[in-house]
Amino acid sequence: MSETIHNADNQTGPHSAITGASILLDKVTKRYPGQQKAAVDGLTMEIPAGKIVMLVGPSGCGKTTTLKMINRLIEPTEGRIVLDEDDVTDIDGDALRRRIGYVIQAGGLFPHMTVATNIGIVPKMLGWSKEKIAARVDELLELVSLDPAVYRHRFPKELSGGQQQRIGVARALAADPPVLLMDEPFGAVDPITRQRLQDELLNIQEELQKTIVCVTHDFDEAVKLGDWIAIFTEGAQLVQYDTPERILADPANEFVENFIGSGAGLKQLTLTRVNEVNLADAVVASVGDLGSDVLSRLDEAGHNHAVVVDERRRPIQWLTRRQLTRLDRVSDDVDAKLPVVGDRATLNDALDTMLVSSAGAALVTGRRDTFLGVIDVETVMDAITRAHKHAMTAHSDGRPVGINTGTLDTVGTSGAATVGERPGG
């Protein structure tokens, strides 16, 4: 059952190695006394090393119970939990949890301890020296983009919600655990902060390659963060366990369809980044060019807009034919409302930007804001179609195992699945 652990290697980024461990839940069941139905019933699930696996489902479906059984905060009634070939079902729970990072909503920070003490608490329990802990705390604060000198001695109540959440992640990573469990980590922050924290988590993951298991009820979050998504219904019945692309393109049943909600095509836009699609060329003009010259170049290329760049090739204006005919020479004014997206933005972000621009397209900039090209609605539509086709035709190697014993029919029908080919995955 561990083939996929080795398969996972060929999906690793070029610059860093996987530091995560694989997790195997083997026929795990949780029954609470006095309840007839099991909260989790015979769940077998494989979580590949170095991947982000999102557990999603409606509330009360047992996804949080499943998560907490991995670090045995909730002891399974039956079944085994295997961490990197290592059966941890019967070892000391506290020792196990020190090897597994744990992040909850709003960070769960200890209000009576400073940020540094909070982060250093697991290393301290593991008996690290003071100097080593202090150095580690600073390193982690840097990792979550907080200035150690400013935040080290603050108390949780002196931080914003987003900052508390960052410290929560830093604390979970303190002893460099191979596995990180997150329970609705971004549920308590506002949407803008949430988006930023998600991006940050992806950056951290790109660097560290931990195995992350994350519970959420927000399907969009699952699509954005997950290499793999596990969709549960009541009793932790695993309905579909697949890549976001596959789930969007080919939902296993009606429940999944409803759960995805409307606009599955639109959701695929968050899976692709601007630098993965072909950008259209544009007529580029420099400050001081003759208006008539630029116009004739537009005629030649058959375009209607010309992009004006400054001496460092940053776009400053986007002129129509009509604007150009009125100009003698191109000025060096900077248009503050220029529709610009970075090349790391998702197609979703790009679409947002181009819909508010008068040209129905957006300018793409790369490193140091230099102009790369133009992205328009057709490009985005092409990308959706291609992603869809790709997901439908891709082969099934490397899909991790996920079944409920006795309920194979709900899962087995989804047929062939794809290898995750997520950007930066």
Binding site: G108, L109, P111, H112
Partner: protein, 213 residues
Amino acid sequence: MLEFLGDRSGQILFSSWQHLSLVVQCLILATVLSVVIAALVYRSSALTSIANSVSAVGLTIPSFALIGLLIAPFGFGVTPAVIVVTFFAALPILRNAVVGLTGIDRAVIESARGIGMSRFRTLVRVELPMAWPVILAGIRVSAQMVMGIAAITAYALGPGLGGFIFSGLSRLGGANSLESVITGVVAVIILALILDLLLVGLGRITTPRGIRV
């Protein structure tokens, strides 16, 4: 009055010191007992409500009656005094300790357990420090209350300022009797104020900045 004070200044100071010492030592003992009991009961809602009932009912027992009852098994002197003062001191502290421990955000405890702290370590490193301001508020209430109760223990010939009050009352109308009572009462009040100030200071020092209100 001044003459009375002047003549007996040594005795007054000695008794005051004994009074304060009795109260402080009993408070420490009561705090330890209450926190241990609270730590044992706070996880069970049944035991918690028993503890709360005990602390509520216990306070209705007249202290004078209790000390009288204790003279039979323990005789006169320090022992019944310590028992009575500690008993009454423990009740408000127990109540507050239970409230403080049960009032902690579940999420904080869950995250403590989730990062690998044992139950005992969670109690000592997270729950008790977070409940400490509430427990300390209980200690302050207790301190005020048992200052007066400690005076009553003089009935069983316990140490402290109660002697002035009882001897004055027993021969009311006699020479210096009123002075004796007033001295005892005022000294108890002054001691209570001093102790309260000390406890406020203790709170300042021992409450981490992160949970100071």
